[in-house]
């Protein structure tokens, strides 16, 4: 069977190389049948990559340790679910996942995004083929998941921190996001290569971009929750280079999703939008490079490997080639219209873009600075939390404020009188909230008060937007309040879905500010019967339990929690000792308070031989709003993604007779 896996990957590689070479020739010389053949090669590559995926999954399910990959990442006692998710637990498997998702996206996008135009798709195929060829090349020549060995009696097991249900969903979500950004990139490059700088490529990839962005956002939140419940340090985001690697392309894609609306509405920012698409894609490849090369110390960099130089070379090539192409097509990308006023909706989008890109680039600098300093001085300097927090506050808080300002400002230009009227209630609400917070003693964190005040401003502006829009729709007659609201949202799903996403970001900001600026931390050594007080809770240690599970020994501290005179329950933080992996993991215990949105987070930092425990307890106010934000984010994204029949008819009419079908 490993021969079949290898053969399938070689077939994929050859097909993708063919798609690139034949695709370029066909597009360059305008050969229809050859262009169709190159497109079919993409479809065939997806089929052969699927065969490789099935072979590896079968080997994992059968515990076939003659595959080096299976032996290195699983063991006989590993539960079946984690055995299968070990598919993306190591380098070779996750590269195969990259290729599989890429081929799937490529086929789906090329077959459904016909609106881009045949001459554009003819160039999109070789771009997708080239990117796929790179990953297939790595899998065939550098990091094969089908390398074999004499089968050992048992495997080395899976990293304990990966033995968590989130392992099943977080990496695939992130990959759907990372890889999904290839689609707008390929279509942007295809449009430039075909010299078609109209809006067809944007319209054709609108949903693909939005879906990739949503997957990347959800993937990060799932990763944050995974870190929160599994890693056991009491936080959810540590500015780890690999966490940053997912955040950067998401920020660039967020900027693009805003600025592309200006191109669609005003015909402006064509160069900027293409550059953002290039930036988002290059950052997604950079993220994969960081995760897989082992070049930077991170809890996610599971291995040191030889693929780093290949990735670096590919990133340099893609960046240089894309920028050269954009430069060559500059005359075609000139805008005919200009920004009419610095106080307008499009101007706020522009400010938002500058802040998002500035935040992404400062994070990028923080990630690569240790490498640069090591190359220059021989010593790797570290960039720590204060650096990132400084820029998060400097750029993030104005961004939060802009989320409230943008919806209240009219397109083209706005007068001071109109601004005064639309801003009145959100400003009053925000000021009232800020004063109320200071009066309630929240002034211990200046940043926290500012974040909450801005959050109230944004929420008020969103509510006002929905209310005014519904009232205006109802005033047209024929519908009640419910009908007017539904009609308002369904007629402009992107805008109102976007507002729901804004509400999710506000919830996120409130949760992050609450759980970081106002958290309480206590840590002490407790013997059985000892107790400590944390933010009004009394925590009593009762002693340890030990239990033998399938592939590990579970040691749990029994901790009773009381508030006032009420018993709130028994919680069991502890540690797992994994046999095959020879590792120990922290297993935290969390008391969720759904009423206040806060958590009591318990970590058995040290299990001592004398029967005592070093117990760390964190009281994290409002932290559950972060996870609620994830649900709201998904809801907003779905509203924005939902097909709009009216818009489809309008686009069909616009492109009738222009988009040449194959």
């Amino acid at each position: 069977m490993p021969d079949l896996g290898r053969a399938a990957l070689v077939t994929s590689f050859l097909l993708l190389v063919y798609a690139s070479a034949a695709g370029v020739f066909a597009a360059w010389h305008g050969r229809r049948r050859l262009a169709e053949s190159a497109q079919n090669a993409l479809i065939a590559a997806f089929a052969s990559t699927t065969v490789a995926v099935v072979v590896l999954l079968t080997a994992l399910a059968r515990h076939d340790f003659s595959y080096s990959y299976v032996a290195q990442h699983t063991s006989r006692e590993l539960p079946l679910g984690y055995t299968l998710t070990a598919f993306w637990g190591g380098q070779e498997g996750s590269l195969l996942l990259w290729l599989f998702v890429l081929c799937g996206y490529s086929v789906a996008a090329v077959l459904t995004a016909r609106r881009a135009g045949r001459e554009v798709i003819a160039w999109v195929v070789p771009v997708l083929g080239l990117i796929g060829s790179f990953f297939a090349m790595l899998l065939v020549f550098v990091a094969s998941p089908f390398a074999t060995q004499a089968a050992p009696a048992d495997g080395a097991g899976l990293n304990p921190s990966l033995q968590n249900p989130y392992m099943a969903i977080h990496p695939p979500m992130l990959y759907l996001g990372y890889v999904g950004l290839t689609v707008p990139f390929a279509f942007a490059m295809g449009a430039l290569l075909a010299r078609r700088t109209d809006e067809r490529w944007i319209v054709a990839t609108r949903r693909w971009t939005l879906a990739a962005w949503a997957f990347l956002g959800v993937g990060q939140l799932l990763g944050a929750h995974w870190a929160y419940v599994e890693i056991g340090w009491g936080g959810y985001y540590a500015w780890d280079p690999v966490e940053n690697a997912a955040l950067m392309p998401w920020l660039a894609a967020t900027a693009y999703l805003h600025s592309v609306m200006i191109q669609e509405k005003r015909g402006m920012l064509k160069v900027w939008n293409v550059l953002l698409v290039v930036l988002a894609f290059c950052l997604s490849i950079f993220g994969t490079f960081l995760t897989r090369s082992g070049i930077i110390q991170s809890i996610h960099s599971f291995t040191q490997s030889s693929i780093g130089p290949w990735f670096l070379g590919f990133i340099c090539f893609i960046t240089a080639a894309s920028l050269a192409l954009v430069f060559a097509r500059l005359p075609l990308l000139r805008a005919k219209t200009r920004l009419e006023s610095l106080v307008s909706r499009e101007a706020t989008f522009l400010y938002n873009n500058l802040l998002l890109v500035a935040l992404a680039l400062t994070i990028l600098w923080g990630v690569i600075y240790p490498l640069v300093s090591e190359a220059v001085t021989g010593q790797a300097a570290t960039v720590s939390k204060p650096y990132y927090n400084f820029f998060l506050h400097s750029f993030g808080l104005p961004l939060l404020l802009l989320m409230g300002i943008g919806p209240l400002v009219a397109w083209r230009r706005a007068s001071l009188r109109a601004l005064g009227r639309t801003f009145l209630w959100p400003v009053v609400a925000a000021l009232a909230a800020g004063i109320g917070l200071l009066a309630a003693g929240a002034g211990s964190s200046r940043i926290g008060v500012i974040a909450y005040t801005f959050s109230v401003f944004v929420l008020a502006s969103i509510v006002l937007e929905f209310a005014r829009g519904t009232r205006a729709r109802r005033a047209l007659g024929g519908v009640g309040w419910g009908g007017a609201f539904t009609s308002l949202v369904s007629r402009n799903r992107r805008r109102y879905g976007g507002y729901v996403v804004h509400a999710a970001v506000v919830l996120l900001a409130i949760g992050v500010a609450g759980s970081s600026a106002y958290q309480t931390v206590r840590e002490t050594r407790l013997h059985p019967g000892d107790s400590m007080n944390v933010a009004g809770n009394r925590v009593v240690f009762r002693g340890f339990d030990t239990k033998l599970e399938g592939n590990h020994r579970a040691i749990r501290a029994n901790v009773d929690v009381y508030r006032g005179g009420d018993y709130l329950g028994r919680y069991r933080p502890g540690k797992n000792q994994y046999f095959a992996e020879d590792q120990v993991s922290n297993e935290v215990s969390i008391r969720h308070d759904l009423l206040t949105g806060g958590d009591l987070f318990m970590i058995a930092d040290q299990v001592n031989a004398d029967g005592s425990v070093d117990l760390k307890v964190l009281q994290k106010p409002l932290v559950n709003l972060i996870w609620l934000a994830g649900l709201v984010f998904v809801g907003g994204s779905l509203i924005a993604l939902w097909p709009d029949a009216r818009e489809e008819r309008r686009l069909a009419e616009r492109y009738e007779g222009v988009t040449v079908r194959a």
């Binding site: 021969d3 079949l4 049948r33 079919n40 045949r118 509405k265 616009r654």
Partner: protein, 95 residues
């Protein structure tokens, strides 16, 4: 091993057939050119995009006016220009 060989062989043959399909379907094509929009079609597309942008701008202004983001005075200042632009774009797109 034999099953692997069989599946691998089938995969290779199916891939070759799929890739060659356009040539197998049409061994001799009467017209093998990759059709592209001509200059007139491209112009029509540009006009259609401009028309949609102009109409959209007008719709946005109306909506912003109804929701109070644009004052009556600002509305009167802007609406004439946008209507003229939309009318010109419609004429171009229809012509």
């Amino acid at each position: 091993m034999s099953v692997a060989l069989l599946v691998g062989g089938l995969l290779a043959v199916a891939s070759v057939v799929l890739v060659a399909a356009p040539f197998l379907r049409e061994p001799v094509a009467s017209d093998d050119r990759l059709l592209q929009p001509d200059a007139a079609q491209r112009r029509r597309l540009a006009h259609a995009e401009e028309r949609d942008r102009a109409l959209d701008a007008l719709r946005e202004l109306e909506f912003d006016h109804r929701t109070g983001k644009v004052s009556d005075e600002d509305y009167r200042t802007q609406v004439g220009d946008l209507r003229q632009r939309a009318a010109a774009a419609l004429r171009q797109a229809d012509g």
